[in-house]
């Protein structure tokens, strides 16, 4: 109990520190000015969502191979957290784009891929709500989870190549990061990864508790 409280505190401190660094420590970028600072939240969120989806993929595969429910709990928890981080990418993108390039949305490769990724994993979550039986739900959604993650490199690859063929001037990263910027970026990335682990564990424990409830309800019915 105390350990998890300490970890939560650590995550909060890291998040506060990375926000401070993004606002005050990082130097102002030359071409885009102040608004570029959104990058320190936007880009690592994208990378963290991918990490969460990777964890979900591992959970799906391990569930199919071992049939232990805990892997299904991990798969759904990390998928939900991944969607949350993806949502942050999709919300901070337009907030960055409007002041920087005058448009709310640009079909830039990374943002477009993130949008498709978001749709894919929202579909995964919708699928889960459409199957009542817990075991069937776990097996069927694990299968789709495998398909979804295998699609990720293909989505990124095909959209990136499509943008290369039809280029446009909107670019969501600084071309070369100066050393201070790089340190702020890594701090942000670290804090978001720790947050991801915290949220996954919190969601996982909820899933484990639901299973406990189900078992007890069965026991009660049996009497």
């Amino acid at each position: 109990m105390a350990k998890s409280a300490i970890y939560t505190l650590l995550v909060c401190m890291l998040m506060a520190a990375s926000a401070y660094a993004a606002f005050y420590v990082a130097p102002t970028e030359v071409t885009m000015g102040l608004v570029q600072r959104i990058f320190y939240l936007h880009a690592p969120s994208g990378m963290t969502s991918l990490a969460a989806f990777l964890v979900s993929f591992v959970g799906s595969v391990l569930y199919l191979l071992t049939r232990k429910p805990k892997w299904d709990w991990l798969a759904v928890s990390s998928a939900e957290v991944g969607v949350a981080f993806c949502t942050v990418v999709l919300l901070t993108g337009p907030i960055w784009a409007k002041p920087a390039w005058g448009v709310w949305w640009a079909w830039d490769a990374r943002l477009t891929s993130t949008l498709v990724l978001w749709l894919l994993y929202v579909a995964f979550l919708i699928l889960r709500t459409m199957i009542e039986d817990a075991d069937r739900r776990a097996a069927v959604s694990a299968f789709f989870g495998v398909f979804a993650f295998l699609d990720v490199p293909l989505v990124y690859g095909s959209i990136w190549w499509w943008r290369t063929q039809h280029p446009q001037p909107v670019v969501f990263t600084s071309a070369a990061l100066d050393p201070t910027m790089r340190k702020v970026f890594y701090l942000s990335w670290l804090s978001l990864t720790c947050l991801m682990a915290l949220l996954i564990r919190q969601r996982y424990e909820l899933e484990a508790a639901r299973e406990q409830l189900r078992v007890l309800e069965h026991e009660l019915e049996a009497r």
């Binding site: 498709v116 579909a123 459409m130 398909f147 295998l150």
Partner: protein, 224 residues
């Protein structure tokens, strides 16, 4: 080997069933036709623009049609629980998937090649000279659509709201098929009639990855 004879037998069954009823091919073709006609109201289908927008619209029509057409693939096995009978009849459950996805690829390809001619007439595009190259692009695309669609038909048939669930699952997954297929088709419509192996490469990669994934994990979908 028993696996190949099982697959061949099931494939024959699927094709014969379709030949008898013609349901799938007819409805799919009419649906694609309707979508093409409706799309043509949304922009001026003069020759120059059709070469730009046409391929994308064509492939969108194909994808929408497939997401409806592939639904019965596993759904029909739920009546009278013929799926259990199939599982008992074959040695490797992958034979069921392989037979269905081959049949679906053939059905998709036939409707697409047919509607390509209608598209050529409506939008004033000469397709006869590039028909073989187009057939290759359509085959690679259809194989990808069919592999994922057949697998997802098995997924959605076990869920509620399956009619709208299948497109929700399929369409985002098929973005890496839509983009290369539309781009490769567009490149063929251009005067150089170039076959774009960069795009076809992505299609081939998609087909290989998902066929393998279905081979490895498909049996978990067929359990009770």
């Amino acid at each position: 080997m028993k696996f190949f004879s099982d697959t061949a037998a099931l494939l024959q069954k699927e094709i014969q069933a379709e030949f008898r009823s013609h349901e799938l091919l007819t409805t799919a073709s009419i649906f694609i036709l309707i979508v093409i006609v409706l799309f043509s109201f949304t922009f001026d289908p003069t020759s120059a623009e059709s070469k730009q927008f046409g391929p994308g619209l064509l492939w969108l029509a194909f994808l929408f049609s497939a997401s409806l057409m592939l639904q019965p693939s596993f759904l029909k096995e739920r009546t009278n629980d013929t799926l259990s009978a199939l599982r008992l009849a074959v040695g490797d459950p992958f034979a069921i998937f392989l037979a269905k996805l081959c049949a679906n690829t053939i059905f998709l390809l036939v409707t697409q090649l047919l509607l390509l001619l209608v598209f050529a007439v409506f939008f004033n595009v000469n397709v006869l000279s590039i028909y073989p190259k187009l057939a290759l692009v359509f085959f690679l695309g259809s194989f990808g659509v069919s592999t994922t669609g057949t697998a997802l038909s098995a997924v959605s048939s076990q869920a509620r709201m399956r009619e709208v669930l299948l497109p929700i699952l399929m369409l985002p997954l098929l973005v890496p098929v839509l983009i290369p297929s539309a781009e490769a088709t567009r490149a063929l419509f251009e005067p150089e009639h170039a076959l774009r192996w960069d795009w076809l490469g992505i299609l081939i990669a998609f087909d290989v990855v998902f066929l393998t994934a279905l081979w490895l994990f498909g049996e978990y979908l067929l359990e009770e």
